[in-house]
């Protein structure tokens, strides 16, 4: 699930067979990994068949949790919010990421500076990102509305109106992450052999033509990585939204992870809903990742 350049395992001259030794080297990592990732991933399906209101005593439900969650109007509202968020987030991340990467790549002077500046929001604690933007988007006297006021734009109720809050959450998400995607795309751009441009220039292709017929196709593998990662990140969004809108107004920006968290850990606890939601989220991420790869592969082949 990465820009894996898996070099095929090299043939060794002498095979290092040491019996137990490699297993002992693997043991600590695999023990923690198995206990806190693999076992829970399997057990998640099992837990989703039970309900609990305290996380300690469980009652068998069978497919009951899925039945109630899939007929729950609130849940579908959250699915809708998450889908809108994820789609807009992926689209904007890719478009803005590509634009920034191309501009940074062409910039001679201060290239490293711009690269670093765009990356800084990625480093900041998402909790703080939510805090700052909540403060800046305040309706009265927030920095954003004050700035817009200079151009005669009246106060905008960013975090009060449902649609505006959705837009704000998406925009802040992109603000926070796009520098990361830009970095991957920039690495992709810089791995393109400059001589292909040379040839295009001799043929008299202008910059736009060069971008469409050379850069964009050659950048496809990096774009694919970004689409896959942004999709996963989009479905994971939670931390900065928690401090930006808290999921409000009236649930308009509550996404699936917050739904899982609240049902699992904030009273009234509905463990069954939380675990069934997790399994559905896993299926969604898994399916979308596979689709992304297949579409990407096909494009590459074409």
């Amino acid at each position: 699930m990465t820009a894996v350049q898996t070099a095929p395992p090299r043939k060794r001259k002498s095979s290092l067979k040491m019996g137990l030794v490699p297993y002992l080297f693997l043991l600590p990592n695999m023990a923690i990994f198995g206990l806190f990732t693999i076992w829970p991933a399997i057990n998640g399906f099992n837990i989703s068949m039970y309900s609990s209101s305290n996380g300690r005593t469980f009652r068998w439900e069978g497919a009951g949790n899925y039945q109630s969650i899939l007929t729950d109007a609130d849940f579908w509202g959250i699915v809708r919010n998450t889908a809108i968020y994820a789609f807009a987030f992926v689209l904007l991340s890719v478009v803005i990421g590509v634009i920034l990467a191309v501009l940074v790549d062409q910039q001679r002077r201060g290239r490293t500076f711009f690269r670093s500046v765009f990356f800084i929001p990625v480093l900041i604690s998402p909790v703080v990102v939510g805090l700052v933007w909540n403060w800046m988007l305040e309706r009265q006297g927030g920095l954003v509305n004050t700035f817009l006021g200079w151009f005669g734009i009246p106060e905008i109720p960013w975090l009060v109106d449902n649609n505006l809050a959705t837009i704000a959450v998406i925009a802040v998400g992109v603000w926070m992450q796009v520098g990361f995607y830009m970095l991957i795309l920039l690495a992709g751009l810089q791995s393109i052999d400059p001589s292909v441009y040379e040839a295009a220039r001799v043929d008299g292709a202008n910059r736009w033509r060069q971008f469409i017929s050379l850069t964009f196709p050659l950048l496809q593998p990096s774009i694919l990585v970004v689409v896959v990662l942004a999709t996963i990140h989009g479905f994971q969004a939670f931390d900065y939204i928690y401090t930006l809108t808290g999921g409000g107004p009236v649930g308009a920006t509550t996404l699936i992870v917050q739904y899982i968290y609240e049902n699992g850990f904030v009273s009234p606890i509905r463990y069954g809903m939380a675990s069934a939601g997790s399994v559905l989220l896993f299926c969604a991420i898994f399916a979308l990742t596979i689709i992304n790869w297949m579409v990407g592969r096909k494009r590459e082949a074409a």
């Binding site: 894996v4 490699p22 057990n43 910039q107 998402p126 703080v128 220039r201 968290y261 997790s278």
Partner: protein
């Protein structure tokens, strides 16, 4: 920082429009590009600058409408107040301990696993490597409830161990270190063996020192992740004594129990270490991320 400004020569071709660094040759496209880049840089930086400026403002200055650009004085009372009047030192301490301990643990177990996967042949090797890679697709958010169940049954809820151990076996770290170790020649390891060095000693004394660049990348990534972690600490650290900085910031903001000027000061404290780390290790971070595509 890197070798980005090396070649400017091949631009002297006749029909050049691609980039112009030559004298008096600034095209409209170049100007537009710079304008877009500078505007974007401002958008990226303004919130951070605004936060830092805010951390020096008094509550009165913060509630001024329209907002004041600069504080009247650059007093640090928001910082000292936050650290003395509230338990922010505890949260700072917790965050630091968790970050350092988790990073050390990650480096230790990831490098050992990576060594086995890179330099030994054994049954199940490819399967274990693929399994490790595949779990990058299973984010914590998806297994939150079952992982919590495991941690609860081990009695690690409300302990720092509960924050340190579960996230330590990062697939990313194993992957980066394995790729790096593949490039270490087997002959070196063989030679150490012939000299009678034990397997573990070879690993510690020969292999690990050669992996320093890769270890640095993993360490930096781990520090960034653990320091900014939120969802997992939110779930595990339920009592105030084990809060990390992000959990404390989020909880106190939601409950409005701590004045906003102090929240701002502590927010600055929580972003500083990572930004400083980045400024020092930019190149490693950038290449590490570009090569693996993992955050």
């Amino acid at each position: 920082m890197s070798s980005t400004t090396t070649e400017a020569a091949p631009e002297t071709l006749p029909g050049k429009t691609w980039t112009s660094t030559g004298k008096n040759n600034i095209t409209a496209t170049d100007a537009l590009r710079v304008v877009i880049l500078v505007t974007s840089a401002l958008v990226a930086l303004v919130p951070i600058v605004w936060l830092v400026l805010g951390s020096f403002k008094t509550p009165t200055e913060l509630s001024a409408r329209p907002p004041l650009l600069l504080p009247e004085s650059w007093g640090i009372s928001n910082y000292t107040d936050a650290l003395t009047r509230f338990d922010f030192t505890t949260y700072l301490f917790n965050s630091t301990v968790v970050t350092i301990a988790a990073t050390v643990l990650t480096l230790a177990i990831n490098s050992m696993a990576a060594y086995a996967l890179a330099k030994y042949n054994f049954r199940g090797k490819n399967g274990l490597f693929l399994l490790t890679l595949a779990t990058i697709m299973i984010p914590l958010q998806v297994i939150l409830i079952p992982v919590y169940q495991v941690v609860a049954s081990l009695g690690m809820v409300n302990t720092l161990w509960g924050l340190i151990i579960p996230a330590a076996a990062t697939p990313t770290g194993v992957f980066i270190l394995r790729q790096y170790m593949l490039s270490i020649p087997d002959e070196l390891i063989e030679a150490a063996r012939v000299d009678g060095s034990g397997e573990f000693r070879t690993f510690i004394q020969i292999v690990l020192p050669m992996c320093r660049p890769a270890l640095a990348v993993v360490a930096i990534l781990s520090i960034m992740w653990r320091w900014n972690d939120f969802l997992w600490p939110l779930v595990v650290a339920q009592s105030e004594t084990v809060y990390t900085l992000p959990v404390a910031l989020a909880r106190f903001t939601a409950e409005e129990t701590v004045p906003f000027n102090l929240i701002i000061a502590m927010s600055v404290v929580s972003i500083l270490p990572v930004i400083i780390l980045f400024l020092f290790f930019q190149r490693q971070i950038v290449t590490g991320i570009a090569n693996t595509g993992i955050k």
